[in-house]
């Protein structure tokens, strides 16, 4: 079989567009716009970056024939195409949010790194071979470490980035070691062959060690409970646009990647969750991680006074719910998980966008700093209400339907008595807890009086557009969920 370079070229069109865009941003900034003011350079970088993302979106839209590409290195199934599209939309919204970012001394480098991170993320969405999985993950992670530490004036930012890097590096080492064991056990690094080999061999001890190591990396990437320690610090310390990208696009791509790895690749070693004392496999482990994330995220979020830390712990709780979607993906397909992860990403980008815009008008760290937002900027308060209510899962917003489909799929796995079913019940009960801390945020933003001397907030047009688009998409997908679910 001769390699199909033309097909590979077509399939990698979006990545090429993003890389060319990143280089164009850097080149233009270093040559033509060298002497311009910071504001103009930021505007140019964002324009070029947005054009590159749009071009990549067109490439994804027109894409090649669905199916495996270049042997089986890439897989362009509906999940890959939808995730690529979702990542690009979230990146575009992040660029809109970055327009409002304060203390931006190297705008071109920042935008270029966002584009490189997006390149890694859309590769993650389609990768089907362990080497490419590892490289895409590292490309995305290394870019994200740098943009998480981009604000050089604040010591918190450097500290957050270093912690993110150290945890991420350890997770990457676990992933590499796990991949090497999978290669040793199955003799292949391509998921279809791995799946065939595992189906023949069954679960052996070495494979179980490999699974455990892959799950550690999965837990880190999605900020699930025992591996969540970096998340609150990064959400709090990183510049708001970076935190938005880490919390949304990176999570969506991570869930797609590991769902592909676990179900089509290692599905034969899934084990079973039919009863509480089932045999070894990764499903019981994922169930434990999901339960821990749900409990820890929701309960610790209650005690938070910092807005970003609250979002971080609620993100951990949402990860737990999305892990339920991963468990259900074997039977229900990836549609519920994708719906949940993408609409969650929209709401998170929006929430961080509101924080970023509010930071221009003064401090926005503690929840009480939001006081009187409805007077200082009615637009921001309205958008924040949509995002927070969607995160809390209030109908008719998309967050409600995301929870509904994922929990319904989990309940269908084995009824209420099976582990997945009881996890769904736990998640539903904890949603009530979550409503409490989300409403505390909204109470400050919509009811509390502004503190004396609080100025009105002016929102940059690009950011306003991004926030409006995110809020509009959340309402639209909430009213017409089939628009997303029908893609699969």
């Amino acid at each position: 079989m001769s390699p199909d370079y033309a097909g590979l070229f077509r399939a990698l069109g979006p990545e090429a567009a993003l890389v060319v865009g990143a280089l164009a941003v850097l080149g233009l900034d270093l040559t033509l716009f060298r002497r311009h003011s910071l504001g103009e350079r930021l505007r140019l970088a964002l324009w070029v970056g947005s054009l590159a993302v749009l071009a990549a979106g067109v490439h994804v839209w027109r894409g090649g024939a669905p199916g495996p590409v270049f042997g089986a290195v890439l897989m362009l199934d509906p999940l890959a195409v939808a995730t690529r599209f979702g990542v690009l939309v979230l990146t575009l919204l992040t660029l809109g949010v970055a327009r409002s970012s304060t203390a931006q001394r190297q705008p071109a480098e920042y935008v270029a790194l966002i584009l490189f991170a997006a390149t890694g993320l859309i590769l993650m969405a389609a990768a089907q071979q362990l080497l490419l999985v590892f490289l895409a993950l590292e490309l995305a992670s290394l870019s994200l470490y740098v943009i998480a530490g981009f604000d050089r004036n604040r010591p918190e930012t450097a500290e957050a980035a270093l912690k993110y890097f150290l945890f991420g590096g350890i997770a990457a080492a676990f992933l590499l070691f796990g991949f090497s064991l999978i290669y040793g056990v199955t003799g292949s690094i391509e998921l279809p062959q791995i799946a065939a080999q595992i189906a023949v061999q069954g679960a052996n001890p070495l494979l179980l060690v490999a699974l455990a190591m892959v799950l550690v990396a999965f837990g880190f990437k999605t900020a699930a409970a025992p591996f969540h320690l970096w998340a609150p610090d990064v959400y709090q310390g990183a510049p708001a646009p970076s935190a938005a990208l880490v919390a949304s696009a990176s999570k969506l791509a991570g869930f797609t990647l590991f769902t592909r790895l676990l179900w089509p690749g290692l599905g034969a070693a899934a084990g079973s969750t039919a009863s509480f004392n089932a045999g070894p496999g990764w499903l019981p482990a994922v169930a434990v991680i999901a339960a821990a994330s749900l409990l820890l995220g929701n309960l610790v979020a209650l005690a938070q006074t910092n807005l970003r830390r609250l979002l971080a712990y609620s993100a951990i709780a949402h990860s737990g719910a999305m892990l339920l979607g991963v468990m259900a993906a074997g039977r229900a397909g990836p549609a519920p998980l994708f719906y949940y992860a993408s609409t969650y990403g929209l709401a998170t980008v929006g929430a961080f966008g509101v924080i970023c815009a509010a930071e221009r008008g003064g401090r926005c760290e503690a929840i009480s700093d939001l006081a009187g937002l409805y007077k200082r900027s009615p637009f921001l308060a309205g958008c924040l209400a949509v995002f927070i209510l969607s995160l809390a899962g209030i109908p008719p917003l998309a967050g409600f339907f995301g929870k509904f489909t994922v929990f319904a799929a989990a309940l269908r796995l084995g009824g209420v008595a099976a582990p997945a079913g009881s996890l769904a019940i736990l998640a539903i009960a904890l949603s009530a807890v979550a409503l409490y801390y989300y409403l505390i945020v909204l109470k400050q933003a919509l009811v509390a009086k502004p503190t004396a001397g609080a100025q009105p907030i002016k929102v940059a047009p690009a950011t306003a557009l991004a926030l409006f688009a995110a809020a509009g998409l959340i309402v639209w997908f909430g009213l017409f969920p089939a628009e997303l679910l029908g893609l699969f």
Binding site: F177, S180, Q236
Partner: protein, 103 residues
Amino acid sequence: MSPLQLCLAFSSLLFAVGLTGALARSNSILVLLGLELMLTAGSVNFIAFWRFGPPASPATGVVFAIFAIAVAAAETAVGLALVIAVYRHQRNIRLPEANRLKG
């Protein structure tokens, strides 16, 4: 012990030493060293499985190891840059003192 088993024992030991270093050290450079050891253990595994395992496609293990070494180098570069960023603010690189963020 067959050569493959020896290699696996060696790489597991390397991984364990690296993990201990990464988790227990308070100097961030030494944590970076631990991280490098863990990544190297993965590369050693790939080479070992390629050399002693059942014959599969010709060079998969070696290619993976080469890419892993390159990624490890990139990771160190980013890590050192972040260590310097932390040093600029707190004038040392001890992790226990990087504790502004908590709650």
